[in-house]
Symmetry: C2
Subunit: 215 residues, 2 copies
């Protein structure tokens, strides 16, 4: 069946990214085909959910056999718009920025780091990664426009999260991955995805303490 993009649940998109990471892992281990049931088990969900999620975008499976791992990966990449390289920058090069710059997940997934920005004089000019220099934040605007950068990972200290995100939005950044732990408000032209590490522990704290109560 054919769906309109507006019919597609948000959660589906997030799970798709999940499936993709699992498929990548399976491919590395030489798995060629996988059923919705097997994929579901690995993704902590259920088979129908997997099939439904995929069915929003097309019919990728073969009856009796399941899904071709490699083919399904390529289809998900098309859907997520990661078939071609997406350039991104890191803004705020402290511990977190360093971790992200070296995180192996990005390299294999067509996200290409193009620049790092900070305000610390001692960091600026250094080249922590082959070909990637740390630049002063004043240079962001020109750099983003010249290199047509769409995505930024925001890893500055909390107290400058808001002002920095506004600058990114004005420079033309279309998507901000906000890891500062502070909420930011930007123009509706720019999308924000929040990753808050502390929230993760709080969620665990709640559910661990509730275990034993009837559910």
């Amino acid at each position: 069946m054919k769906y309109n993009y507006s019919d597609i649940p948000e959660v589906t998109v997030r799970r798709l990214s999940n499936y993709f990471h699992i498929l990548k892992c399976l491919k590395e281990n030489g798995v060629d085909f996988i059923s919705s049931k097997q994929l579901a088990a690995l993704a902590h969900t259920n088979a129908v959910s997997v099939r439904k999620d995929l069915s929003y975008f097309g019919e990728f499976g073969k009856k009796h056999i399941g899904y071709n791992v490699n083919f399904l990966m390529k289809e998900i990449m098309k859907i997520l718009n990661i078939s071609k390289t997406n350039k991104y920058i890191i803004v705020g090069y402290g511990n977190l920025g360093t971790a992200i710059a070296h995180f192996p997940g990005f390299k294999d997934e067509n996200f290409l780091l193009k620049g790092i920005f900070d305000i610390n004089k001692n960091k600026i000019g250094k080249e922590p990664i082959e070909g990637i220099k740390v630049m002063h934040i004043e240079e962001i605007d020109a750099f983003v426009k010249e290199n047509k950068i769409k995505f930024a990972v925001l890893s500055t200290p909390m107290n400058v999260a808001q002002v920095t995100s506004e600058r990114l939005s004005k420079a033309g950044i279309r998507g901000i991955l906000n890891m500062t732990g502070r909420h930011i408000r930007v123009s509706s032209e720019t999308l924000v995805f929040d990753i808050n590490i502390v929230t993760g522990l709080e969620w665990l704290s709640y559910f661990v303490s509730k275990k034993g109560d009837k559910r």
Copy 2:
């Protein structure tokens, strides 16, 4: 009205953690009272949702006035079970582990780092943070039991994520914050919260590319 814990939406718990971070920020800025509408604006949601979320746990607001920031913070801390200190450990002390160990968000929120574990001989024995030594992963079991640690942040390389998480679960860890980017499967005794940075960029990639289509 009184609700059973099983009636409470999962999303509500996650938003609660959000509200809490915002309230903390407001308190620092000297704000004493806030309406559901104001809080909603800061949390990227709407007023009814804020009130409904809170109403699952009690009646914390004052009509005509709104919510007392300090009081509401304390109530949310009770709900999330973070009124008393929660001890946690970091497992895998690479770039990401380092970033988490120094992340300011944890300290102010009653999450107390008690130990760091790795297998790298050059790291073991060091004391990167006052009072916190890096220990060998072999020591985890004894340490967790002796110090009654419930929570662990998993920041090892992907290829050892599964085996390490099993070890944590066996040692008695009740909640794992999984930042490895790999899916892990552990006994149902242990809860897992996944934070995958790459998923964030993929989500942004999808929605940025879909902007302009009717929604």
